[in-house]
Amino acid sequence: MQRLLSLVVAAAAVALAAPAPAQTYPSKPIRFVVPFPPGGPLDITGRAIAQKLAESWGQPVVVDNRPGAGGGIGAELVAKSPGDGYTLLMGAVSTHAINPSLYAKVPYDPQKDFVPVALVAQVPNILVVNPSLPVHSVKELIDYARAKPGALSFGSGSTGSTGHLAGELFKTMAGVDMVHIPYKGGAPAMQDLLAGQTQLMFDNLANALPQVKAGKLRALAVTTSKRSPAVPDLPTVAESGLPGFDLTTWFGVFVPAGTPPETVAKLNAEIVKALASKDLAERLAAMGTVPPERNTPESFAAFVRAEAAKYAQVVKSSGARVD
């Protein structure tokens, strides 16, 4: 009789204990892996989000920079982490759309190993030329490039970056021949463009806009399908003669596969709230981003799949590879 009673008590205790952990997420510090070096727009935005999450939940959210292999090292680390909601990744177009097609092999599966949580920002690239080049629109640029095949050089921050692929897509769609010059990072590429060593570049809006405003560079178009609110007078490449041209640099939060859907939903809600807060929203607008109409884990997942397919095509036709 006593043994039966103690068994019943034990079973009741276990039954009562089970639901508790699910309700108290997060109950310990969260690790936010940023697979890029500190200081760039992605890292800074990540830190701002981490701070807001920490304030809201009362748990530390620690940014862990793990740069290398175009974001692959950090992505691999999170792919192999347990799906308990305590490891987040700031993934980007490079880690989840470009690298799988660009690299011979990546140590993670961008679709299977991750659950997309929320899109953070979509930053347009802007086509800028050195003022010494006598072109004032995309059409003039295409005519110039057709008249002088192989004469124009365009720089980019690295092989496989959106700046590089934008140029390759431009070449394919416009049927022109330009030479790609890779650099280690956007800053040296910008320097050589200002000096006239290269003639044009598809740089991200935040970096290029100050130079344009100062008159050191001329802006021709943005690479997104819609005009950017930061530069509403600038046409898109698509409306300037290459319909269908659409490239953005985006980044968003991912968690490892197997993370419970309630945790994912909770993270999504909190991140969307952080993005809508006044100071973050202002900063993102200054970077030229347009917030998406819907930002749910499902819409983000669909977006990532579409981007991966698009870039598979772009990378293949450009012939770019990283071994």
């Binding site: 200081g39 890292d43 290398g68 292999a69 692959g72 660009l102 800053a187 290269t198 130079q211 200054a286």
Partner: protein
């Protein structure tokens, strides 16, 4: 007249109580960070970026800048005391500085480093104030062809750094070059020598190699000799350089300052080149008797002045063009963006208090650093008297922490261990590590610029000789090569004559 007005504006901003406080905090943190081997200004600034969210823009940038050049001062301290260069620019200071420490003259070495750095900092601040925009234009004239020729000059000069056998120095430079090639090639995207290990796909880190080859190998060599520690303790001389020392160093400091200010404006390695170009120049132009490599105080004064001048002038591309010249500057851009300031050419005109306030505070920061560091010398000397069996484990721990902090990767610690063993082997073979480190840093840059120049010229090699700056630099390299080789040629001829 304009200049005086601007400087006055700058000083009113820099000398406000709040900014003075943040400047002091920055240089103090910077010194601490520089002294701890491995943990560099990049990691510190990254950690403090969130703090800058809440500060006014000028104060935030003043603090971060203070951390940067404070770390230069601190990095020389460990280079001199324990042969651990914290920054690439302190590698050269370790050469003579550490030898001076072994002779009991760590005090004068540290003192001269601080004084030389202060003088260079003052001069380069003036240079920035007077010539920032035209200097930025000059920096833009340096394209890939010019950088390549500069690197060639640098590599030949690296051979001069060695005071032992010429053949061994050349071998070490080439070995460093090969080690530097590990990683993903910029132009083709092919991973070289990475053996499929993702951590190697971005190359071997400088900190890893420097800690292993300089610091830990030195510890291993010291442990082998049982009588080392007595040398350190027994012969502690004076704490500060004598007037005679200072007078001897005046030409060295001047040469170092000029070279540093000139080379610092070149983005991407200008400040590093400055320190060892100054050392090389010093070796060739200082008045005899020369004692370089064995503890000549001029071998500390020149590179220290050069690297501080270079550190200050490397702000020029950032402040005038909005282009960062090294990872620390990239972080400063990040800090500016957080504040909503778009870094670019208009910062100078749209926000003069920011621009001139930063320049003025650089000088104030240098002054604070000298006042901070000179009295600390006594404390550092005391540290050397700690029994070695307690000191070296502490150094090892700090090295490990420092190396780990770069990429949050334990892989780097294993690499450091491998390099420590290799470094010990090289010490035994009497091959010097300094040429290796320079080949390691300059080789890949040289290759990158060579191929980029060839891409831009569509495969035409004559462009290296037709562009004026590049042609001049290559000409100087040739002359330097002849100067380096001629003593050995002369010696061989003398030997031949003797035998005959």
């Amino acid at each position: 007249m304009d200049l005086l007005n601007n400087l006055a504006l700058g000083f009113t901003v820099a000398l406000s109580f709040q900014n003075l406080l943040w400047c002091f905090l920055g240089v103090l943190l910077g010194t601490l960070v520089g002294v701890l081997p491995g943990i560099g200004p990049v990691a510190t600034i990254a950690m403090l970026l969130p703090v800058t969210f809440t500060l006014p823009p000028v104060s935030a940038l003043i603090m971060l800048a203070g951390i940067y050049y404070g770390a230069q001062y601190g990095g020389s301290t460990t280079a001199i005391l324990v042969n651990l260069p914290g920054e690439s620019s302190s590698v050269v200071t370790a050469l003579d500085g550490y030898q001076m420490a072994r002779q009991g003259r760590a005090g004068p070495a540290l003192g001269m480093a601080a004084i030389g750095s202060f003088f260079a900092g003052t001069v380069s601040t003036l240079v920035i104030a007077l010539f920032a925009p035209p200097l930025a234009e000059v920096a833009l004239k340096f394209g890939p062809t010019e950088y390549f020729s500069l690197m060639v000059l640098g590599l030949i000069a690296a051979v001069v750094l060695a005071h032992g056998s010429l053949i061994k120095a050349i071998a070490m430079v080439i070995l460093g070059l090969l080690l530097g090639l590990v990683g993903t090639d910029v132009n083709s995207g092919v991973a070289r020598y990475s053996f499929g290990i993702s951590e190697l796909s971005d190359g071997i880190g400088f900190v890893t190699v420097a800690m292993g080859v300089f610091g830990i190998a030195e510890i291993m060599a010291n442990l082998q000799q049982k009588d080392t520690r007595d040398i350190f303790v027994a012969k502690i001389d004076r704490l500060l350089p004598s007037m005679e020392d200072i007078k001897k160093c005046i030409p060295s400091v001047l040469r170092g300052t000029v070279l540093g200010s000139a080379l610092g404006i070149l983005p991407g390695g200008g400040a590093l080149l400055a320190s060892f170009a100054a050392y090389t120049l010093e070796k060739k132009s200082a008045k005899p008797p020369r004692n370089f490599g064995k503890g000549d105080i001029r071998g500390v004064a020149a590179p220290e002045s050069a690297n501080n001048a270079g550190a200050q002038t490397s702000f020029i591309p950032l402040l005038t063009l909005g282009i960062p010249s090294n990872p620390v500057m990239a972080l400063m851009i990040g800090a500016m963006m957080i504040q909503g300031i778009a870094p670019g050419p208009q910062v100078m005109t749209e926000r003069p208090q920011l621009f001139w306030g930063m320049i003025a505070s650089m000088w104030v920061g240098n002054l604070m650093l000298v006042i901070l560091n000179l009295p600390l010398i006594g404390m550092w000397i005391k540290l050397l008297t700690v029994p070695y069996r307690l000191l070296y484990p502490a150094i090892l721990v700090f090295c490990a922490i420092g190396v780990y902090s770069v990429n949050n990767a334990s892989f780097d610690i294993y690499m450091m261990a491998i390099f420590a063993v290799l470094g010990y082997v090289w010490v035994k073979l009497e091959c010097e590590p300094a040429p290796l480190i320079l080949g390691f840093i300059l080789g890949p840059m040289m290759e990158e610029n060579l191929r980029r120049a060839m891409l831009l010229s569509r495969g035409d090699p004559s462009v290296f000789f037709t562009k004026p700056i590049s042609a001049v630099l290559l000409g100087i390299s040739l002359v330097l090569l002849l100067i380096v080789l001629s003593p050995s040629i002369k010696k061989k001829r003398e030997e031949a004559f003797q035998e005959a």
